[in-house]
């Protein structure tokens, strides 16, 4: 796999995440209204530059309701061009830069309601922009190496931050999270609460996978692909049980960079 093809797949998948999230925002338009939980009327008060004056009026053009619906429609359209259009469009850095800047504006509009999938997509758009601005094979390889490093760091950090906590090691926390309304499936949470050994086994499986994920960078290809397969299973499970659907696409968008690394690391 050439670096251009690998970065092209990263771009398509990250752009698809943005399409999905933008369409979800549009579908849930009520929450973007002035009286919604993701309201510009309140969100703008956080910064003097957005709260009022001519700068506030300027931000209103994109972020006030109902203008924000046009903003998300354009964002979905631009991301759709990258996700489903010709490969050459993925290398058009003004497009990826616009999507990155759009993500920043969404963060400015209201700090509530965002998650790690949004952050990963945003980082990817900036990395892809920088690679294509430089426009050299070396810059594209550096971008792929950086994305592979970020995904490795994300899983390893999460695993090693959990490992010292007794509540993770004994399976209590996983059953507790899955029992919540916001991130859980209460029936599954109850099932695991009543079966602490199963909860412990599930936690240790995830912990082991997360903590040892960095081996994908040096392990034989079969083992590395096994780790990536478990990664897909992990995110799909989180989507089904916890409702974290956009994480599937946002994180799997980095996997072509890992595959490229495994195929080209020279050992």
């Amino acid at each position: 796999m050439s670096p251009e093809i690998a970065l092209g797949w990263c771009t398509r998948l990250a752009a698809f995440t943005i399409v999905l999230c933008s369409l979800e925002y549009l579908w849930g338009w009520r929450t973007l209204r002035d009286g919604g939980m993701i309201s510009w009327r309140v969100g703008r008060l956080r910064l003097p530059v957005t709260a009022g004056g001519w700068t506030g009026n300027l931000f209103d053009l994109a972020l006030a309701y109902p203008n924000i619906l046009v903003f998300y429609t354009i964002r979905a359209g631009l991301a759709g061009m990258l996700a489903f259009g010709p490969a050459a469009w993925g290398a058009a850095w003004p497009l990826t830069l616009l999507l990155y800047l759009g993500g920043l504006l969404i963060e400015f509009r209201c700090r509530y309601g965002h998650d790690g999938a949004d952050q990963m997509s945003s980082i990817m758009m900036l990395v892809i922009t920088l690679a294509h601005v430089a426009g050299t094979d070396l810059a594209i390889k550096a971008a792929l190496g950086f994305l592979a490093f970020q995904v490795m760091l994300s899983y390893a950090t999460a695993g090693w931050a959990k490992a010292p906590m007794a509540g993770w090691r004994d399976g209590t926390y996983i059953a507790a999270i899955l029992s919540t309304r916001i991130y859980g499936t209460p029936a599954v949470g109850k099932f695991l609460t009543e079966r602490p050994r199963l909860a412990k086994l599930a936690t240790w499986t995830v912990l082991t996978w997360e903590c040892t994920f960095p081996v994908v960078l040096i392990a034989p290809p079969q083992i590395a692909y096994g780790y990536l397969g478990l990664g897909i299973l992990f995110h799909v499970s989180n989507a089904v049980l916890m409702g974290l659907n956009s994480f599937v696409w946002a994180f799997i968008a980095t996997y072509p960079a890992v595959v490229w690394w495994v195929l080209n690391r020279g050992f």
């Binding site: 849930g28 209201c110 950086f146 906590m165 991130y183």
Partner: protein
């Protein structure tokens, strides 16, 4: 240009590692105005193990209504693994609840009613459609532990009574 881009990636990667070190984290966060340096935790080290509940009640010339809980984001559906628009509203309420919880210490409690999360909840509750014109409204934020089946949710915040103006 390639050298500059590679240097940016190298510094960015270094910052992503150093932010995990408590000594460097505040310094990096102070300069990371655009959220470039991620800190991937995935519910680590101690996850939230409960739910916040936002309730409101109104006063009318005839008296006061009962507390009503808002089910923000609606119930979870089987297809939410693919398509989950309600997630944003639910997460927004969760984020606001967590932020307001940080203002519950004795030295901050007096100014809680001018914080962004308080205003976000008040704004939302005030704008809810009503069958009858209410005079004033009040909200409360409660917290329940997920694994305590018979437990009573604890009250985190009770707002003042706020005037409602017809728009």
């Amino acid at each position: 240009m390639t050298g500059v881009v590679i240097a940016i990636f190298a510094l960015w990667a270094l910052a992503s590692v150093l932010v995990l070190v408590p000594r460097f984290s505040p310094w990096i966060r102070a300069y990371d105005l655009f959220g470039w340096v991620p800190e991937w935790k995935f519910f680590a080290p101690i996850p939230g193990r409960g739910d916040f509940h936002l309730l409101y009640r109104d006063t009318y010339p005839e008296g006061m209504s009962e507390w009503t809980e808002l089910l923000l984001g609606g119930p979870r559906r089987p297809w939410n693994c693919l398509w989950h628009p309600g997630r944003r509203e639910r997460k927004a309420a969760f984020d606001a609840s967590r932020e307001i919880s940080r203002h519950l210490s004795p030295d901050l409690i007096d100014t809680i009613h001018v914080t962004i999360p308080y205003l976000a909840m008040l704004n939302h509750v005030s704008e809810l459609p009503r069958m009858l014109p209410a005079v004033r409204t009040q909200f409360t934020l409660m917290y329940s532990e997920s694994m305590v089946e018979q437990g009573v949710p604890s009250v985190s915040v009770v707002s003042h009574l706020h005037e409602l103006h017809e728009s």
